[in-house]
């Protein structure tokens, strides 16, 4: 389908014998708008990427997108490590731990549930599906304060589980698995295996699971990104800075230094703009790398079930 559309365009271009002035007048606005948008989306990130290559003074004086020197990255990293005895690395470790635990739990919980919802008809199925839909459409932030109030009453705040367990409650993952199994697993196959004497666990183990890897990667991707970037939930749940995740730590680091507010004095740590920018890169780079390879997940995830095939 894609290829055909391209072919049609090529035919058109060819028939007009190269680019005339009229063609340029048609093409130029489109290209300019797209490039302008690219500036808006890309420049802030480029700036952040280059900032740690400069000293604090250079950031103020040189052109905003100029590159300084590579060794300044090392200097900034060294300075950053003076903050709380290198607590940034602890936060990075925490972020990985919280996200990985949430992903493992979410996959273990969501994939079997989606499988059963897609392949069985049982009392309560409709209710469970509707609750899942409500849970997936409502923004996760709507439940953060209710969860915080609940976690406080059972004395779980400020623990690893207060962040991991709510992140592993992932109705979107159940829905993705449900749609995937509903579309890719013929009921006849399951029924004939049942007649051959397979029980439900064996069906899931030998027929469902081997097919499940696309569903598992979708669930894992969305859950990881959600957990890594989450700010509101860990912000309300965690109050000991050794347990912070990177996003919370980053905000704490910025607010305990004058990097964004040089007018305020009285700070001794060497945490200035290059250091803060480098800390920002710690949060951003892993997720950007994952994102670059995941564009197709976004489409298949968002439109799952909305289209046939």
């Amino acid at each position: 389908m894609n290829k055909n559309t391209v072919r049609l365009d090529q035919v058109k271009t060819k028939s007009s014998q190269g680019f005339s002035l009229k063609d340029w007048l048609l093409v130029a606005p489109r290209v300019s708008v797209l490039l302008l948008a690219a500036i808006f989306f890309a420049v802030p990130l480029l700036w952040l990427l280059f900032a740690p290559s400069k000293t604090d003074d250079q950031i103020l004086q040189s052109a905003p997108l100029a590159f300084g020197a590579l060794e300044n990255f090392a200097v900034a990293f060294h300075n950053l490590m003076t903050y709380g005895d290198g607590v940034l690395l602890t936060w990075a470790g925490n972020s990985v731990l919280y996200a990985v635990l949430a992903v493992l739990l979410a996959v273990a919980v969501c994939v079997p549930a989606g499988y059963v919802l897609a392949t069985q008809n049982f009392p309560g199925r409709k209710l469970l599906l509707n609750l899942t839909l409500i849970g997936l459409i409502m923004p996760a932030s709507a439940l953060v304060l209710p969860l915080f109030l609940g976690m406080t009453s059972v004395k779980l705040v400020n623990t690893l589980w207060s962040v991991v367990l709510p992140s592993a409650f992932f109705p979107f993952g159940v829905y993705l698995s449900f749609v995937y199994f509903a579309g890719n697993l013929a009921k006849d196959v399951l029924n004939s295996a049942r007649i051959d004497g397979c029980d439900e666990f064996q069906l899931f183990r030998y027929i469902g699971l081997p097919l499940a890897s696309p569903a598992v990667s979708l669930v894992a991707f969305f859950c990881f990104v959600g957990s890594w970037n989450n700010y509101f939930l860990p912000f309300v749940m965690l109050n000991d800075d050794r347990t912070f995740s990177l996003p919370i730590g980053l905000a704490a680091l910025v607010s305990s230094t004058p990097a964004l507010n040089p007018a305020v004095g009285g700070f001794i740590l060497p945490i200035k703009r290059p250091e803060v920018a480098l800390a920002g890169l710690f949060v951003i780079v892993p997720i950007v790398v994952i994102f670059v390879f995941s564009q197709r997940f976004v489409r298949s995830g968002m439109t799952a079930g909305a289209e046939k095939g």
């Binding site: 549930a113 709507a142 439900e200 507010n261």
Partner: protein
């Protein structure tokens, strides 16, 4: 015919999810309902008193206004930016359009405090690559960019930066799903690129734009990170701790220890999200659950 064994084994596989659904979905919601109708210290039923107190708080009206203004800027901006860019990308598919799409998409990875940090630098005229633009508006320091009147704009720009790319990918994907015969037929009938985009493609993907607006609205009223981080990162120089509704609800717990009023506010926000979720489920055909039957 499903045997009894089939049933219990199926429920075993569902069991962990049901527990999570109860523990981290339904129970906190019901607990919040309970808190919102009882007195904070005596736990006696007080009806709607907490709601009256919350809605009567002068900070509530101000937060409501802030969130409303922010969405008044952000939602139309999303509609214009996402539909324009996806349609322009779709005119001709090439390495150029693929690269542009990737560039728009990547900032979606950067949300929360990192995005706020980047934009605080971008909004500092002396540091920003966009410095020249600020000059045009006669703005030359952070005090002028982050003043209270402009805060809804600042937060709308931050949010647009982080949220547009995701939807561009989705809408672009929907455009790729339009049958090519339809587009060819329109071209043969004399449709130019502009007419093709506005009269054929746009109506065909409009339901995705509607979904985007509903989900964005539901997320937007919950805004918390951006104003909170602006406030803390600028060492309380800009914004405030009760700028948004969620901040106000959080503030009631941490500053005043008042769980009941916090619950009343959170419940209000939760019910709006719930209503929007029900609209999406019952009024659109995006989330089909009956394909399996």
């Amino acid at each position: 015919v499903l045997s009894r064994r089939t049933y219990w084994q199926s429920y075993v596989m569902l069991f962990p999810y049901i527990i999570f659904l109860l523990a981290f979905g339904l129970l906190p919601t019901f607990y919040t309902v309970y808190l919102s109708v009882t007195d904070n210290s005596s736990q006696i039923f007080v009806g709607i008193t907490n709601f009256m107190t919350a809605f009567g708080d002068f900070r509530f009206l101000s937060a409501l206004k802030n969130v409303f203004l922010f969405m008044l800027i952000w939602l139309p901006a999303m509609l214009v930016v996402v539909s324009t860019l996806s349609l322009l990308l779709h005119v001709r598919q090439s390495w150029f359009s693929e690269t542009m799409k990737m560039l728009y998409y990547i900032p979606g990875a950067i949300t929360g405090s990192a995005s706020v940090l980047v934009w605080l630098f971008m909004f500092t005229p002396s540091l920003s690559p966009f410095g020249g633009l600020f000059g045009l508006f006669g703005v030359n320091n952070l005090v002028q960019t982050l003043n209270a009147d402009q805060m809804p704009w600042v937060i709308a720009i931050m949010t647009l930066f982080a949220s547009a790319g995701f939807w561009i990918v989705v809408i672009y994907g929907a455009l790729m799903g339009i049958p090519k015969e339809l587009l060819e037929a329109a071209q043969i009938d004399g449709c130019n690129d502009f007419q093709l985009a506005t009269r054929i493609k746009l109506p065909l993907v409009s339901r995705y734009l509607v979904l985007m607006l509903i989900l964005s609205f539901a997320g937007g009223i919950q805004v918390f990170v951006e104003p909170q981080v602006i406030y803390s990162a600028t060492l309380k120089s800009f914004g405030n701790s009760t700028w948004s509704l969620n901040q106000l609800a959080y503030n009631y717990v941490v500053e005043l220890g008042n769980f009941s009023i916090s619950a009343a506010l959170s419940l209000g926000l939760l019910l709006i999200s719930l209503a929007l979720a029900l609209i999406v489920i019952y009024k659109t055909d995006f989330y089909r659950t009956e394909a399996a039957e």
